[in-house]
């Protein structure tokens, strides 16, 4: 019963989101509407989505309904089950925070020239699209919703279209989204051909030969992987995500990428069903490459939002590593281990939504009050905007997978799943998984370096430019949005057993097994496999940390010399340190850039002694452009140049071609 209620709530969320889009249309005439009506409605839609997700996760079974919309012979099928519920929860939590944060943030656009109606309208439609993707129970509605999501986010990326770079990013995004959409459509085509129907129920019932199943998997992996920004199909992501307004970036990175993960899980686990372990290997390899390349590029960036976008590539890589482990274990008949890896992947899905949402909103807060995205101009922001600074720190610690925050839990679970590789029979697989976990460990350490750089350069030290020195704290609404996500990051880190109990029904539904052992020793102890194999108690760790720290602070402050005197920093006896002597973001990353130089395309020009105005130039390019994109673009161009020869401009020739094509097609089908 609660599933029907959840479905109803999700419907309410769709209506609210549509309402948010509808009222925003009037924002062109009355800019206030966006702030006082559209964004709050979006927040309410987020709240309804959150509760829909919670009810679906706590309920049992599934609920479905049809809407009399769509094609005449195929009404829209909607369905709610635990998997949809989980992704609705992810979506809802981030949207709630955006709803809190948005009203004050969009105020900054009110005096600009950009169309507020477009901003509010497409934001609402974007949410509607994502909600419907998760609720869809037939390929037709799924593709319609998918396109709605892609197109509305295209307009949001192109929001500030006066800038040529933004238009270029938006076009690249549109192009890649459609190539991906095409692959997904073809994947559904394979399934529909075997299942004789476009609704998911017939696809589930389809009996595929291993070859066709692998083809459907490959197409789904290509399509959803492109949307998820996996290397080497990631090129659009660091271009498109940063140029959208920050609350949209948070939704795109935090939620839309997760919708791609949802689609992948739905198609591979639910619709195709018969999992093969080779697919796991593919996921493991692609995930590892994405994680490592994503973080290395993130470390090299100086634009804060671009850095965060690259870090999304890395996190999606981690999610796909865990999913790959799950497929591997499932394909080799280890259902409990498969469930563990699957739960780790989902845990990371929600964690990434929380901390990446938080970090993008934080970047937006900096942009709002300091008008700066470039790390090299920032510095000392912790003292200008302390609340934003502390919340951002929570995001940085969480994403760096440090205990006791949430990122650590999912990484710990992934490692635990990887450490069970000894149970596999194949020696090749047994040695492949440790290599993937080595990559994961390297990634984790590099992420910590990246976010030390971000936080140290942006929030600590001294301001590197005048406008950053004048930054002011952000309004309460934005603070509340950040605080909500920061609190959730801590909560998800401290109460892993409860969260896993919440995710468990999804694993039971998709993998056919849960992780019953995880909370078997009581809520304090997280024991995914068995208490003697591995155990972690986040509540006790944080209690001990807080107790000892509190005691230490009390102990060291009770003496005679508790006073702290302020003085100048050490200057080696020369001139007092000025902001330009600080390490910059580029110099911080220099040692790692040098160590991993082979993986980048580095153009560097050092100033010469005779230069009148010495300048240091550094450009770090992505090798994927030269290796994949440019050859493809050139091939397309030369192919179209050949096709151009057909275009004589003479209508009779065109009619001739049409006739010939028709004849050939008739000959083929007869």
């Amino acid at each position: 019963m609660s599933l029907y209620f959840a479905l109803l709530l999700a419907g309410l969320a769709v209506v609210l989101a549509l309402g948010s889009a509808g009222v925003a249309l009037f924002a062109g005439r009355e800019p206030r509407i966006l702030r006082v009506a559209s964004m709050p409605l979006l927040g309410l839609a987020g709240l309804a989505t959150t509760f829909a997700g919670l009810f679906a996760l706590l309920g049992d079974g599934s609920a479905s309904t049809t809407l009399p919309l769509g094609l005449p012979w195929m009404p829209w099928h909607l369905r709610m089950d635990a998997l949809s519920g989980f992704f609705l929860l992810v979506m809802g939590l981030v949207t709630c925070a955006v709803g809190l944060y948005g009203p004050s943030y969009v105020r900054g656009f009110e005096r600009g020239r950009d169309s507020l109606a477009a901003l509010g309208g497409f934001t609402g439609l974007f949410l509607v699209g994502m909600l419907l993707v998760v609720l869809a129970d037939d390929a037709f509605l799924f593709m319609v919703a998918w396109e709605l999501m892609s197109l509305s986010s295209y307009f949001l990326v192109a929001f500030q279209h006066e800038n040529a770079a933004n238009r270029r990013a938006a076009f690249l995004y549109l192009l890649m989204a459609h190539i991906g959409g095409l692959a997904i459509l073809l994947g559904f085509g394979v399934l529909a051909a075997f299942g004789h129907g476009f609704d998911f129920d017939s696809m589930r019932a389809a009996e595929l030969s291993p070859l066709w199943a692998s083809l459907a998997f490959g197409l789904a992996f290509l399509g959803f992987g492109m949307k998820a920004g996996l290397v080497p199909l990631h090129a659009w992501l660091p271009e498109a995500h940063p140029v959208a307004p920050s609350h949209i970036s948070a939704l795109m990175s935090g939620v839309m990428l997760k919708v791609a993960v949802y689609g992948f899980i739905r198609v591979v686990y639910d619709l195709i069903g018969q999992v093969q372990w080779q697919w796991g290997v593919a996921l493991l390899v692609v995930g590892s490459v994405s994680a490592l390349m994503g973080v290395l590029f993130a470390l090299m960036q100086t634009d804060l939002k671009r850095l965060l976008a690259y870090s999304s590539v890395e996190n999606l890589g981690i999610i796909f590593i865990a999913l790959g482990l799950g497929l591997l274990f499932q394909g080799t008949d280890h259902p409990t281990l498969a469930a563990l890896a699957f739960v780790a992947a989902l845990y990371h899905v929600i964690n990434h939504a929380l901390f990446k949402g938080l970090l993008f909103l934080g970047a937006g807060a900096i942009q709002h009050s300091a008008h700066e995205r470039d790390l090299e101009q920032m510095g000392g922001l912790l003292r200008r905007m302390p609340w934003t600074g502390y919340f951002f720190l929570v995001g940085c610690v969480s994403i760096s997978a440090l205990p006791p925050f949430n990122g650590f839990v999912s990484e710990w679970l992934t490692f635990q799943a990887a450490l069970q590789a000894w149970q596999l029979e194949s020696g090749v697989l047994r040695s492949l998984i440790p290599i993937a976990s080595a990559v994961l460990a390297l990634t984790g350490a590099l992420v910590a370096a990246t976010f030390v750089k971000v936080y140290g350069v942006a929030f600590l030290g001294q301001a590197r430019s005048r406008h950053v020195r004048r930054a002011r704290p952000v309004p309460h609404g934005m603070r509340a949005g950040l605080g909500l996500l920061a609190g959730l990051c801590l909560l998800f880190g401290v109460l892993p057993t409860q969260i896993i109990a919440l995710i468990d029904p999804v694993a039971e539904l998709m993998v056919g097994s849960g992780v019953p052992q995880a909370g078997a020793q009581g809520w304090l102890w997280l024991t995914p496999i068995a208490p003697e194999t591995a155990s972690y108690s986040a509540p006790i760790s944080i209690l001990l940390l807080a107790l000892i720290a509190g005691f230490a602070i009390w102990w060291f402050r009770r003496g005679k010399v508790r006073r702290i005197r302020r003085c100048d920093p050490w200057d080696c006896g020369f001139a007092p340190p000025d902001p330009h002597m600080q390490y910059t973001a580029t110099s911080f990353a220099q040692p790692i850039r040098r160590v991993f130089a082979l993986l980048f395309e580095i153009e560097e020009s050092r100033p010469q002694p005779e230069d009148a105005a010495p300048r240091y130039r550094l450009k770090i390019g992505d090798r994927a452009w030269g290796l994949l994109y440019q050859p493809v673009a050139r091939a397309v161009e030369s192919a179209s140049r050949r096709v151009v020869k057909l275009q004589s401009g003479n209508v009779r020739v065109y009619l001739g071609w049409t006739l010939a094509t028709l004849l050939v097609l008739l000959w083929i089908i007869s």
Partner: protein, 315 residues
Amino acid sequence: MSAWLVALLQALLYPALAPLLVGWVRKVKARLQNRRGASVFQPYADLRKLLIKETRVAHTASELFRVAPYIVFVATWLAAATVPLVALDLPIAAVADIIVLVGLLALARFFLALAGMDAGTAFGGMGASREMLVSALAEPAMLMAVFTLAMTAHSTSLQSVMAHHLADGFLLRPSYLFAFGALVLVALAECGRIPVDNPSTHLELTMIHEAMLLEYSGRHLALMEWAAQIKLLLYGVLIVNVFFPWGVGANFGVLALGSGLAVVLLKLLVLGALLAAGETVLAKMRLFRVPGFLNLALLLALLGLLSHVILEVGA
């Protein structure tokens, strides 16, 4: 209940013994260099002096600068408390396993590096940048080395790993040899010892750990130094107790605990002397030689893991 008491006692032993190990290493090093050197108890006196001195903080530093020493100290201490020192079967093992231990050390390092960047001087940023480079390469090697042990024992709990090793007897496993080599190299890098970093240098071009602490004074500096000493002891105990677990207390009797303490102290004295000898004969490497050094560690750890999954599974 007595188990928790022993765990508490062991947790207290770490900060209590850590300065002694440093003092011992310095003493042996001095002797090897034909100096008399300070007393082995000198680090205690240093800490005491720092604790009662006035604390100064740069104008440019934020609140984080003042909180960081506590976080670094507490995280390092909690990490150490989970490493069995004198006895096995302690309840604290269930709180944190090896991966959590690595995570706690990473937490300490994160705040140490941030604190280094807080005052906005060139040295702090330089130290933080280099520290993150070293740790980025050392952490995977460390995790791979402990994974080798964890996969052998089918458990990520350090106590289970030690218990498994004890039950194995003097079985020589190739994977253990590789993991041992990797862990020693990682320990040198993580504790900032020669040849990666020199704890007794304040030369701008070479320092890593000291560069991040340059702005600290008084009790803040004491906590940072103490945390570094605990970290050295932690790695020392990790090496001697995981690879040579013989002699660790089997029960919570006074005799067993006493002999366990005596044996581990003896092992640590030998390890400290070896460290001092190594630091006497080796020179510090250039910074960009360090990646090669740590890649060797990662390679060894991976070889250990591969030799385990290929040769030893099922054996």
